[in-house]
Symmetry: C2
Subunit: 319 residues, 2 copies
DNA sequence: TTGTAGGCGTTATCAA
DNA sequence: TTGATAACGCCTACAA
């Protein structure tokens, strides 16, 4: 392995001069710098990351934690984060699973962005307590080293309710997500509040954000229907797709017998027929903002929590 | 930051004793070991990764390189890799983008698994030349430090052709992928060979593995159709979905006027109606095998290239 | 069984 | 402008 020592030897200078030259310090002649850089290139020198970060006490890498790697959902988000980090000269690595959490205290990464309901809050808190900077995208936590970039779930829920009202809905079935989840909780709260305000009856059907739970919910709803159309607000697109799947097995029609609005604006929702009406937001922007926050946090700049706003996307699944 | 030094002080022993105790060396009493471990836990000690890997000259991390993070395609594959690596006590990080390539020569990772047509072959070769171990999933390369785990594209193509023959196809339109890609190339080669052998006429329509290119191809094909049904073998599901999209805008029907077989067995293909007939393979197994290969390569064990076999998945899009 | 000390490859502080 | 040298935190002969 070729190190600065080898370059120094080759160039007939000391290792410190090499280090200065390679790191753009103004303490060396322009001439020796270029000479040294030439030699470095010739020898295919690449600095050893372990040695460098041991000394510098930082890696310039941000870790993004996800519950799993599935779903087209993450694509845009990760893209946004990566783009955002690039602006600050940081690299991104994507991790999943309990063991990779150690990257944080091990100082393998300079900061973490978390969108992983699997990641225990206490553990996050513990790392924050040790002085590590963390941005969470899926929960609210109060700590000096933790910041949040959250979806405006309440706004999104209100948009959906607006549509239901405009559609003269007489009763709304709420296909909810996991009880413990922040997003699901907020959507449920805002929805019930809004529906109550407008005096529209509703019923909550517990789901868990997965397609099968949507399927089951539809099965249950269509077992003994009372009135038509059946209006559903699914708290995410995936469950809405589950509803589609079940309805397909019957003679009923989405958009006519069953009207449904989703949340997330996933690719699949845009593809199915009739197109799924849903609540959208920019996943790309979400990632960019998260990246910006974590870097500012690391650099000690003032950071404020931020929200990602939502819009309504029309679809023939409703009206 | 708490290091072994602090533990040593607290325990009243030397740092080497601490190191031995923590690393399970048989050179310390069982009693001192447990005492030291207790203190380490109490102080929330976590080893500094940079220091450790500087000394050990390895990180126990494998990097997986992807062209992008999009698509449900990667989910299962990454899951397989992660599971596979876990068996050997290795961690996985997922990377994308030119700058992250540096992780390899920087020795930030012990090995790389590459499924990224964006990653230049010469660069891979260069890293292999420096002694880094690499497993490629999307090309053939000949080097002592490079191994490949590839899809059995030829087998898959043959399976599709079998179906076309059984379906009495009189002419087959081949919706091909990017010319430079290994997978696309092999599928094309095997397909043309097989079709020629059976004397079935065919025509190649150049695509690029993206949905829009499938859409365009369908548009072109349906502009002045000559005979029915039109039989298509799309070299991946994504393009097949593009065909679906266009056909939807017409009065024609998939499975009747247009018969089509895809490749990859993606989630979307399983969802569309009529279900897309396609060539499947275990992405999970692909990942597991890749993980196994890279670890064996690192450990200096003998490694043989391997293939991932394919099966035919029935769908109403064909017959 | 435990302690001492040198080294992993870089960076950064002082002298020269 | 350059060079010697001490860290950074951990591991590991070798010595005690």
């Amino acid at each position: 392995m070729v190190g600065i020592k080898d370059i120094a030897q080759q160039a007939g200078v000391s290792i410190s001069t090499v280090s200065y030259a390679l790191n753009g310090s103004p303490k060396v002649t322009e001439e020796t710098r270029s000479r040294i850089q030439a030699i470095a290139k010739e020898l295919n020198y690449v600095p050893n990351m372990a040695a460098r970060s041991l000394k510098r006490r930082q890696t310039n890498i941000i870790g993004v934690y996800l519950a799993d790697y599935a779903g087209s959902f993450y694509g845009e988000l990760l893209d946004g984060i990566k783009k955002g980090l690039e602006l600050f000269g940081y690299e991104m690595i994507v991790c999943s699973g309990k063991k990779s959490h150690l990257f944080i205290p091990e100082r393998m990464i300079d900061g973490a962005i978390i969108l992983d309901w699997t990641f225990p809050a206490e553990e996050i808190l513990q790392y924050a307590q040790r002085g590590h900077q963390i941005v969470v995208l899926d929960r609210v936590m109060s700590h000096d080293n933790i910041y949040q970039v959250l979806l405006d779930n309440k706004g999104g829920a209100a948009l959906a309710i607006d549509q239901l009202i405009a559609g003269q809905s007489e009763k709304v079935y709420l296909l909810s997500g996991p009880e413990t989840g922040y997003d699901s909780y907020e959507r449920l709260e805002a929805t019930t509040k809004e529906l109550t305000r407008f005096g529209i009856p509703f019923e909550v059907i517990p789901g868990d954000f997965t397609e099968p739970s949507g399927y089951q919910a539809a099965k249950q709803l269509l077992a003994n229907p009372t009135q038509w159309p059946i209006d559903i607000f699914a708290f995410n697109d995936e469950m809405a797709i589950g509803v589609y799947k079940y309805v397909r097995e019957t003679a009923y029609q989405i958009g006519k017998d069953i009207r449904i609005i989703g949340f997330d604006n996933t690719e699949l929702g845009a593809f199915v027929q009739p197109r799924l009406a849903t609540i959208a937001y920019s996943k790309h922007r979400w990632g960019m903002v998260a990246a910006e926050k974590i870097i500012h946090a690391i650099q000690g700049d003032p950071v404020e929590d931020e929200h990602i706003y939502t819009t309504y996307v029309d679809g023939e699944s409703f009206i």
